[in-house]
Symmetry: D2
Subunit: 378 residues, 4 copies
């Protein structure tokens, strides 16, 4: 149940205040250059303490790869990895041992398991997403060979929203600011709002948008495993996510079919796909990718941990007031951007591997194979 | 890939114009009265031709149970079932054999499989959901023993929305009108809009809302298998669904943590759970049910089939104009309500079975066991 | 749990005395000619009443394909099928309703489920294997395109064994006799023994041998999913099977490494594989096929149903004597041969589909693709 | 594919000469005392260099638990662990980089992946079984609470076999000798044979027997997931295993049903099961445990690595002679005993967890629950 994916699978483990966070990537194709600097850079995008918008905690979060690589290339065997926990202030949590913090997983873990590691949220801590970012980075290294790209950005913080139509945005600006928003018109406002909320010991929600480009026709399974159902489940599995839509999504429900139908216009010269009049469908029809970009949105609630007093109860039902110390994010979105990308990347690679079974290789695959050394059939 | 669920599993088969639609329910607990009249009644809620709001097609859609039942009770072995297709006008589709209808799955199936049954959408037809309704009805019969209830309704059609807060609605009114909306203030408007759109040969989208009540604490898995991730994937796997949220969902992103945190107030007398100040979380925290109701929303796009001319291309890339005959729904929502319920019911029962493994039995389970005859240990 | 396989998956349902036996094949590649005459012929090899060596029950066992086929070709969507039960003498079993027959599944089903369909063994009846033969026949149709062949035969009945080294046998003789043994030297003795045992109201066990030829290098997963582990599990899931080995198997344990090592001799001209000095390994090394034939053996116990009085107890613990009427097989092996082949065929095709993911297509695959019409990229 | 089990799942990673071997146990029940001394003791039983019968390699093989434990008890979250590789003589393998060793996985890995870590067998090394022993030790800690015990021993080495009927053996003697055989009559002979073979630079095969006792009625799934099919697959997944049988197994095929049927004699006083006349079935009927002991046998081929010259070819097809240095086991059986136990323990616990879903708790479960602290409902 701590495993994600079918043919490309990530299994994760680790608690916030245990010795390490880690995981196993199973099913990675052989012959991929495992660029550890890239994996670490992805982790750094998620790391706490990277800007004044995030928690002040400093954690190195250095990944150690333990298997599955030989002379820098993946071998097709499972890739085990760990990230040691550091800079834990477990003592910060002593007061919370028997207390259910409002809107945290304390209460539900307690009743599900009868026992819980209360320190820093234990397994329910967002530190668990470290493993997702590592798995996602490995998936991105594979997707790069296939010409598939995944990008995500902060689209809305509280009620401050950026341009909705991603084709009007310059996505190269995402990393140019601390909030990871590509729309210069609202970046400053978003940052100001987060700092204001932080100053009040409060938190704020928002929306992360993303788009998958370069995806070939044919990914996804037509019934229960629709590509957007897999993508939605991936996003909804991220801490604090409350909603998912794609294409015209919730906004499109007021429209008519005649407004929303995407008409194929002509086949491409290599007959490998068609151009379309519009992309209201969001790149997926009948659960299967149609070769157009796949835009989607992910709704995040405000973080539950407040740096202000709150009423709650302990495990005996006694009322208590908590006033957490500790270092927390006033808004998770800037750090959640790489997590959203990681989950999207793993979802798409998994669908690609399933689809490519028993099928002629698309050209990009030859690139992967071409990197193999030595060649079986040379 | 045509299988849904883990311990309670539905595998489906069947095309719109083949001999039959059917499926296999595996993992149903033994000793449940398999009320076939109830299963048929659920199918009748989904049946075409049930009101002037839906397609005029008449199909009996009679289910035949083929296994897994002995003297009226489930035996724990797989329940096979079929629904014969009738009233097929396959000839209506002859013109479409080599054509990609706009925003249908024609194009994606063609490129994924290289071959497709074009008649009535084949496997991508909404007739596939017949099997879901049968599986969901069986799940509901189990959930009834556990005191868990699932209800869904039409919450919005186009831009006409009913009361958003379900606690202010009388859900017993859902079946009192053709559109399946429990808010008398807007029912007539919704029906009028659907008829107007139908008259124009066009279609319209909307939102179905639902709520799960009576769900015990502890269902769902904390990381990738979060209860709402499973529920979201279930909903997103339904034809024409573009979005999912739960609790405060997309609307909650503008709020602060101090507004949205749900505070536990006191333990219940049997210490099996707590009461809460509010339910912004939507009955799930950290991916695990907390015993409160689970409200959710599902966004449907307008149906792609229009009864008016549209430009498109054929498989050779030649432009063509289609002007479908046939009988189609101007708005899927009224008939999709039982499908949403079915997917929710199967999701919750599956999570319940996983959670109850190796755990003390909740009281409701004794009811299931009490119905067994003969008793192993009598 | 009633599903077999990963990418090529068979889900089965049905009891001996219910309306029908059936199943769903999910993951069959598109574009395969679904030769229903061949599928029926395979079923006929398993059918009761085909010779004096088997039960006298007559059942037509006609398969009806319900989906997944369009104009004679598979479409990649699930293939549903049913075989109606006929010629049921349910009354033969009335006396056995509350009785545990020795060495049957009556006792274990009763304690596992608390309820059971006692008629003819219900789900534990060998009629369940009908679905396996259908699934296996579909797999064989796919394997035929890939040049992979699966053959099984009766290798031993009681203590009468045929030539052990399959390379010395003429496998075209398997179907030439009722016992399905390719060794003319012992066929008559085997038949005589079965008839003698039948005359005594008793039953007898034996061994079925099989060999998979034409299997390419690279099938199977190296750790838990070793190809022979999958094959062994497939065989051990057949009713009455008590053991499995492959290559030199149990007989090889007395040998030394220097006697048993298979030495590669030279690469083939196309460098797609090597020739080997010997095949003690049985075509699999490290869990992965090496391109050589895969011989294996399956041990069957004598059938538990005797046509003579036996002491046992009822569900209340009271001693009773049973003296079954009914029509039963004195030896399951002749009818089990196609079942063994079916399970082997599904195992190999599943492994082939998993292996071919993301890989260059072997030449045989082009044949499958070449049959697709129309071509996506024509 | 590097994951074993359904509800109790072990995912493993690691190569012989990489930084570490490790794994993740997912689905372990909460509240179990995780006795790390016991886990290490189990690893020590599998460690190289423990006696003169095994390889002279010395490896500490110290396990480090990274997650899933809080104050000494399991929490229900995944248990990550690693064992660092030490004492690697990678240089011993330089000559083998481009060579296919006879009957090793070199050849099949090369053609499956196009790349391989040749050092010490890489992923195909028996060091991979370290992770299995850790997973099995955790499973044993759970089974102990349930009163279920798993024992295995060396039953045959070459042609020297111990008493076959385990009820006539004193299983407490297993650990009293280096070969792990409980029959004093043959222990010395087995040891002498192994030393003789070792002296010749050769290797020898054998049989490990095992028995599971205390298993309740009802474990296993009736069709594809028969308990013995799961057990067989588990055993066949161990390096060098060529065969599996249980109950009377291959020896029973010569018998008649009248000799082999196990008759239930009377119900136990608590009506939770029956006593039987015999146990030819081996504790499983219809794929489901019947409460009797489950005896089984596992055939091991001789190890492929010989310390004497052998002819083979390299990846270019050129003939070469290899004469391995390195330190290897002349007979894997003594060290494989804990591996067989580990796989059996995980198989049974997994089946127990699946069976206990939605069922009344057996008494032993109350013990597990009783250890939980604090109690949710106190």
């Amino acid at each position: 149940m701590n495993t994600f994916g079918n043919l490309f699978r990530l299994t994760t483990f680790g608690e916030s205040h245990g010795p390490a966070i880690g995981g196993v990537v199973d099913g990675c194709p052989p012959g991929i250059d495992l660029d550890t600097a890239f994996i670490q850079a992805e982790l750094d995008r998620r790391r706490p303490g990277q800007s004044r918008l995030t928690t002040a905690r400093k954690e190195g979060d250095r990944v150690e790869i333990l298997s599955g690589v030989f002379e820098g290339k993946t071998t097709g065997t499972p890739i085990g990895f760990i990230v040691r926990n550091e800079n834990q202030h477990s003592g910060d949590y002593d007061d919370l041992r028997d207390i259910f913090r409002p809107s945290h997983a304390d209460y539900t873990y307690y009743f599900k398991y009868g026992i819980r590691d209360h320190r820093g949220g234990g397994r329910s801590s967002a530190r668990e997403t470290i493993s997702r970012v590592v798995g996602g980075a490995i998936a991105k290294l594979c997707l790069r060979q296939l010409g598939i790209d995944v990008k995500a950005w902060t689209q809305q913080v509280g009620d401050i929203a950026c341009e909705r139509d991603y084709t009007k945005l310059d996505l190269s600006l995402i990393e140019s600011n601390d909030v990871r928003c590509p729309d210069p018109a609202v970046t400053r406002q978003m940052e100001d709002l987060i700092l204001q909320v932080k100053g009040e010991g409060d938190t704020i929600g928002g929306i992360i948008a993303g788009v998958i480009t370069g995806c070939p026709v044919g990914l996804g399974e037509p019934v229960f495993g629709k590509l957007h159902a897999q993508l939605g489940a991936a996003m909804l599995s991220i801490n604090a996510v409350k909603g998912f839509d794609y294409g015209d999504g919730f906004d499109g429900v007021t429209q008519r079919g005649s407004e929303q139908n995407d008409r194929p216009l002509s086949m491409t010269s290599d007959k490998r796909g068609a151009s379309f009049s519009t992309n209201h469908s969001g790149g997926i029809q009948g659960g299967i990718s149609n070769g157009q970009p796949i835009p989607f949105r992910v709704a995040f609630k405000p973080v539950a941990t407040l740096l202000r007093p709150q009423q709650t109860i302990d495990i005996h039902g006694n009322p208590v007031t908590i006033n957490p110390r500790g270092r927390h994010d006033p808004c998770v979105l800037p750090r959640a951007v790489p997590i959203v990308e990681a989950m999207a990347a793993m979802t798409i690679l998994d669908a690609w591997l399933i689809q490519s079974k028993g099928e002629d290789s698309p050209p990009a695959l030859a690139i992967i194979r071409g990197r193999l050394s030595p060649q079986p059939s040379q």
